[in-house]
């Protein structure tokens, strides 16, 4: 059997069989789902309930201010700032007399600090009440006002992307693009570090265990290095695949908990919308829950998943191969001292971190010159290109940019692998000597 395949096999199997691998692979998606579910739950349930006593000198708030479950306004008699806590209120607002022509401030006293969100909500309610009062004074009666309120919330922004070929315009969603771009860029960033460091540690292990010389008397150093890089890359892909399967499985399982009639309504919404693209949702009768589920599903369906996933795999592998080779070279020149590794890693980690920063900007504004160039240069392209791709091909990322980026990444990892192979070959058999950058350069560019 081919020796490189044997090495790949060993590198892959020893890691995949490891208990830690199984644990992280299973726990990671559970952790992510738990994190999302937990934070959603907290944001819904975690709100403080406020029962606010209003001391209203003007007298027009009663009946005009909107109450909700979390914020309840009451207009009690004989309550003042000294006794509102005893009377069962959590906060008290004192509104001074004013005629509505100048800015006034009202004072909110509370038992405990209130959150910014609550503060904003209270201010908005009060201002709405004042606005309503002014409108009524201007001659609009209460009925008219209520019907305006209920109808004016119907506008819904639907961004549509012009397609260049003149075909059907495609619905786009900036929030989703942002999420996908940031998510995939982040994922590549994290995995580059995780798997790159794994390669480096593997090489260091071989060197410090003194097995390197035994190995290179059977295989070429380049086979040893590339076998390790490919083996660990396969571990990474396996992990991704298992995560995708697990996440899909979890969501399918979650759907089973949605009541049957809600799902029926979601289906109706889907059908209605496919007959009438861009049509209003209110045509079909559906409950709130069904509308929400349909919205999420519909938003997700606007992304071009096969292209995004395909390119993600490409950029993950390309970026991994590009940096893993460099990490292997560093691992091969490090001696027993882990401090050496720290300082030698710096020139590799710096561009990764720098790319991450560019990525966070590119995901907000995918067409700036720096984002375009960073998505073509192989040092940063895996992260930055993923951030841009989510905004659409060829709308945001023209085909020529994508092609240039992919080609330069392939060329880039071939170059780093060649370069690292030369450093690795000498470094792996050097003991007890601190290697300088100059020497590494010499090894890399000398002949044979």
């Amino acid at each position: 059997m081919n020796k490189t395949i044997l090495i790949i096999q060993r590198e892959y199997l020893t890691r995949v069989k490891n208990k830690r691998f199984v644990l992280t692979t299973i726990l990671m998606p559970l952790l992510i789902v738990a994190l999302i579910a937990g934070s959603t739950y907290l944001s819904i349930k975690g709100k403080d309930e406020h029962k606010i006593a209003v001391i209203d000198s003007n007298g027009f708030f009663k009946g005009n201010i909107k109450n909700s479950k979390e914020i309840l306004f009451e207009f009690p008699e004989s309550v003042d700032t000294s006794n509102y806590l005893n009377k069962g209120f959590t906060d008290i607002i004192v509104i001074p007399k004013f005629d509505g022509t100048e800015k006034t401030s009202y004072i909110l006293r509370s038992k405990k600090r209130i959150s910014i969100m609550t503060e904003e909500a209270i201010a908005e309610r009060i201002n709405t009440a004042i606005e309503d009062n002014m409108l009524q004074n201007a001659g609009i009666d209460k009925m008219q006002l209520d019907s305006i309120h209920s109808q004016s919330r119907f506008a819904e922004l639907k961004a549509v992307e012009e397609s260049e070929s003149g075909g059907n315009a495609k619905e786009s969603n900036a929030a989703l693009s942002y999420g996908i771009g940031f998510g995939s860029g982040m994922l590549i960033y994290i995995t580059m570090f995780i798997y790159g460091a794994m390669v480096m540690r593997g090489v260091m292990e071989e060197k410090t265990n003194r097995i390197a010389e035994v190995m290179v008397s059977s295989v070429k150093p380049f086979q040893l290095m590339s076998g390790k890089i490919i083996g660990i890359g396969a571990v990474g892909l396996t992990q991704f695949l298992m995560w995708i399967v697990l996440i899909i499985g979890l969501f399918t399982a979650a759907q089973a908990f949605i009541p049957h009639d809600v799902m029926e309504q979601v289906k109706n919404l889907q059908q209605a919308n496919s007959q009438m693209p861009g049509g209003s949702m209110s045509v079909v009768k559906a409950g709130d829950a069904a509308q929400q589920i349909y919205k999420v599903q519909h938003t997700f369906s606007t992304a071009n998943w096969p292209v995004i996933i395909g390119l993600f795999v490409f950029y993950f592998l390309g970026g991994y191969l590009f940096y893993a080779a460099l990490f292997a070279a560093v691992g091969s020149v490090v001696n027993e001292d882990p401090q050496d590794a720290q300082s030698l890693m710096l020139p590799i980690t710096m561009p990764i971190i720098f790319s991450f920063i560019i990525m966070t900007n590119a995901v907000q504004d995918p067409s700036t010159p720096i984002a375009v160039w960073a998505s073509i240069i192989p040092f940063s392209s895996p992260m930055v290109m993923m951030a841009r791709i989510a905004y659409g091909i060829p709308g945001t990322v023209p085909y020529w940019q994508l092609a240039a980026s992919m080609l330069s990444l392939v060329g880039g990892f071939i170059f780093t692998t060649w370069l690292s192979g030369k450093i690795y070959r000498t470094g792996i058999l050097m003991y007890g000597k601190k290697v300088s950058w100059k020497e590494m350069g010499k090894w890399a560019f000398r002949r044979n």
Partner: protein, 313 residues
């Protein structure tokens, strides 16, 4: 006898030193060859060229009658380097199998040979242990097995007995003899002279990257003999005065004599016979390899060479 390995004018220069400087010798098939030299003499560099890890700067290597082709000939060589090790987290059986497959054995062949060797060296119960659980001596045994498992034509052992207790050292020594008898050639690199004297047929001594001695152990001893003889008498006369020899050393009734040029050992015997003394034993004293080694290497800057500053040249 055909040589298995011929080296012609091998050179490997590093930036700061001539690690291997114009070395030529050949090794006969089936022999046990000793490559000797102080630390930093260039032995490891030379062995790395023979195992295809390094390319020589110039010179040529012939292996088994043909120009050495590292890619294909490497499976006919088993190399146990001085800097050796194993994957600590791997099970012993898997490790042996992996290394054997890398040497080109099929899985079933490899399993068969591993079983044979594990049984032979009483390692059968180790199969599922991890390397990190082994003692130094045990892992040394495993290392030896993985080196010879694929029945290489040429076995290169760099300090094979370091870390072994006398019992295990003997066990390995017997295996080395056995392998040699079955046709393998063994290169044995060490600076432990007593082992070399005991085991090796043929030696080469290196110092400062150059070959300074080449020959069989007895040839070399003859070459460096100082015409010393040991003689044991029933009593030692008070005054010994002979034109044929000087007394080099005396311990009780045992004398060490050095024969002067132009005389023979018979002249010594004749002298004592004439004195009517009883000769209990008489034998030639050959220098040990250790003495020859020290004599040749001392005085050169061999021991300091390893610590030379980098900017020496």
């Amino acid at each position: 006898m055909n040589p298995i390995l011929e080296l012609h004018n091998l050179k490997k220069y590093y930036a700061t030193q001539k690690a291997v400087d114009n070395i030529s010798f050949s090794i006969n098939k089936g022999s046990i060859f000793g490559l000797l030299g102080p630390n930093g003499a260039g032995k490891t560099t030379l062995l790395r060229m023979i195992t295809g890890i390094f390319y020589p700067d110039s010179g040529s290597i012939r292996f088994d009658g043909k120009t050495f082709d590292p890619l294909n000939d490497i499976i006919k060589i088993g190399y146990m380097p001085e800097e050796r090790g194993l994957y600590k987290k791997m099970k012993i059986g898997e490790q042996a199998l992996y290394l054997a497959q890398l040497k080109g054995l099929s899985k079933s062949d490899a399993m068969e040979k591993i079983r044979y060797w594990f049984k032979r060296l009483e390692m059968e119960s180790w199969w599922n242990k991890k390397v990190e659980d082994l003692s130094k001596g045990m892992s040394q045994k495993l290392q030896f097995v993985t080196t010879v498992l694929h029945e290489p034509k040429l076995i290169i052992l760099d300090e094979p007995f370091s870390g072994l207790d006398p019992l295990n050292a003997n066990l390995i020594k017997d295996e080395i003899y056995g392998l040699s008898q079955r046709g393998s050639t063994i290169i044995f690199s060490t600076h432990r002279m007593e082992q070399v004297e005991e085991i090796c047929d043929h030696i080469v001594l290196m110092n400062l990257g150059q070959k300074i001695l080449d020959g069989t152990v007895s040839e070399i001893k003859q070459q460096f003999k100082e015409n010393k003889f040991g003689i044991k008498l029933n009593e030692v006369p008070g005054n010994i005065n002979s034109p044929a020899f000087d007394i080099a050393d005396q311990k009780a009734n045992a004398l060490t004599v050095k024969i002067k040029d132009g005389f023979r050992s018979n002249d010594v015997l004749q002298y004592f016979l004439q004195q009517n003394l009883t000769i209990e034993s008489f034998n030639e004293i050959l220098p040990s390899l250790n003495e020859i080694f020290i004599n040749l290497v001392e005085g050169t800057n061999a021991t300091t060479r390893a610590f030379q500053p980098v900017n020496a040249q």
